[in-house]
Amino acid sequence: MSAAELLLVKNPPRARVSTRFLRSELKIIFGRRRNLAGMGVLAVVPVILAVAVRVSAPGQGDGPPFVSAITGNGLFVAFAALALELPLFLPLAVSAISGDAVAGEANLGTLRYLLAIPAGRTRLLVIKYAAIVIFALAATFLVAIVGVIMGLALFGGGDMTLLSGTQTSMADGMWRLALSSLYLAAQFSALGAIGLFVSTLTEQPIGATIAIVLVNVFMFILDSISQLAWLHPWLLTHWWTAFADLLRDPIATESIKRGLITALVYASVFWLAAWARLSTKDISS
């Protein structure tokens, strides 16, 4: 350690709350053409869904969840799109961003510059994870908002029939959609923490992204094997579909709570694992 570094360790600079790093990080995420293309794909699903339901004869009972309810209220386009994108599209988008977080910098050879200041590794992970959470929120709300716009344009709004068969106002429906989006964004953020950890293991962002998607799909597979029922409550993905509990009357909070606790635990464990890994890693690129 040089004298200057020693000085910094002994007297760390007073923490200044600066959003500059975070802002530049977000600029990179939302400025990259490949990320914009990915978000375009996310937004296309509710559009296709709404148009397909509009031009086809109304079916009842069959098909993806919520789709048969769309003709009654356009808000269901948003719920149906979220349900459709929940198993793969939305987690894939979060996997791509989180897999790139550290491995992408290492791959480009910029990681060592970011770490030029001592004690910067923890801060780097805080900023990187904050950006992942913001992306998860943006992606989920993008799907929901496009769904609302398409749904209202093609089918109109009005009172909404909940899963329990009771009617609620349009405003309450929007509120429940916002809660659903927040809940799902929290779940995808937890996946993003797994992604951040995987991203510290490799210098290949594509490899990291594939690994995270595999983890996600693997959890879905485990969740579908009924012989492993004892394991299911511990799987992150097990609680994702619980967002539909927000559409019951009154809202069924039990699974939602369990889901949020599970997401918080996954996020904390994997963020700490990323922190432990990055701080012991030799950064050469």
């Binding site: 009172d159 009771t166 019951r248 012991t280």
Partner: protein, 360 residues
């Protein structure tokens, strides 16, 4: 920052942080599931608890019930090939139900599917069912005579701990050993546990455990154990609140656009007709834990439902003996034989006990 110094000097130790968190979470999870009551409830004898159970009343409750069944029944093909959350599927797998009760004639049961819900609502003389998947409701007005009858789910499976406990108590007989086990915790509440041992080697049921709320004496959990001491059926509250639900929760108005089927009260509904005929043609051989019910079901017709049943039966193991021949379903908690001459014998017993009953 004193505690951080060790991490600064030995960064490799940082891996302990996430591991410690995993251990803490796993630890609290295990403690929560195996927690025994800290405050002991006053001791009660098994006999007192049995009386408690029969006298238990509540002014209302709302709660969540998880039902698990592993009866060893092969998958029943659903008409549309999908797993539907409706009550008929309660015979296998895990289901979450929401129970609300405020009076014998004010109750609501909702089966919570992944993206769907099936409700049965009883409010005075009105009985509604609602299926969010079908966007359809049925309505029936009970006659005065019907009002007294307890409602039952179409599948015949008990869907609440109370219902399950009632069935178990009916099967009690002198050979059963009843013991009160140490206190348990169910849905965060202190509870007694009654352990019923049939003591009958012919029965497939090795034990039944009833958890009884220490305060209200309502059953909170019923577990049925099979011969290999595995739980074959369980219905338990995961959360329960003994405040009376708002009356508005029992009011159901079919939403606009829903298909509503009105079931006329003076119509003999198929289910009641079946039940009446069934009672006439049913004989019970044996009693208690080894009772076998034999029902004359007659020949299968060419209707769609019967054809489905035929397809299901053809998958079962063919069996024969001095009693005739038929198909055997050997479940984990019961055996059933559908004879070729149109008799159905069911009981919580080994197959040979069914054959004996059939040859009588």
């Amino acid at each position: 920052m004193e505690h951080m110094r060790i991490f600064a000097s030995k960064p490799a130790l940082r891996i302990l942080a996430p591991l410690a968190l995993v251990l803490v979470v796993a630890g609290t999870g295990l403690v929560a599931t195996t927690a025994s009551a800290e405050k002991k409830l006053p001791t009660r004898t098994p006999q007192e608890l049995l009386v408690d159970l029969q006298q238990a009343r509540t002014d209302g409750l709302s709660g969540t019930v998880v039902e698990r069944a592993d009866l060893g029944i092969p998958a029943i093909p659903a008409p549309n090939g999908q797993d539907d959350p409706e009550l008929t599927s309660l015979v296998s797998g895990t289901h979450t139900l929401r129970v609300r009760y405020s009076a014998p004639d004010k109750a609501r049961l909702a089966v919570l599917g992944t993206y769907s819900e099936y409700d049965i609502i009883r409010n005075g003389k009105d009985v509604w069912t609602w299926s969010s998947k079908e966007n359809a409701a049925t309505h029936r007005t009970l006659t005065d005579e019907q009002q007294g009858q307890p409602g039952s789910t179409p599948s015949g499976m008990p869907s609440t701990p109370t219902e399950a406990a009632d069935r178990v108590l009916k099967a009690l007989e002198p050979t059963t050993t009843v013991t009160a086990d140490s206190s348990v915790e169910v849905a965060g509440r202190q509870a007694y546990e009654l352990v019923l041992d049939p003591n009958d080697s012919n029965s497939l049921i090795s034990q039944v455990r009833l958890a009884i709320d220490g305060d209200t004496k309502l059953p909170l959990r019923v577990q049925v154990f099979g011969t290999d001491n595995k739980i074959v059926f369980e219905v338990a509250y995961t959360s329960v609140d003994f405040t009376r639900p708002d009356d508005a929760e029992f009011v159901f108005n079919p939403p606009p656009g829903a298909k509503v089927t009105e079931i006329q009260p003076n119509d003999q509904t198929p289910s009641t007709q079946d039940r009446k005929q069934g009672q006439e043609a049913r004989t019970i051989v044996g009693k208690g834990w080894t009772a076998v019910a034999i029902t004359k079901v007659g020949e299968l017709s060419n209707s769609e439902r019967d054809q489905q049943l035929k397809a299901f039966l053809s998958k079962l193991q063919p069996v024969q003996g001095s009693w005739g021949s038929g198909r055997l379903l050997a479940g984990t908690a019961f055996s059933a034989v559908w004879t070729d001459d149109g008799r159905l014998a069911v009981g919580p017993v080994r197959p040979d006990v069914i054959y004996q009953a059939l040859s009588r």
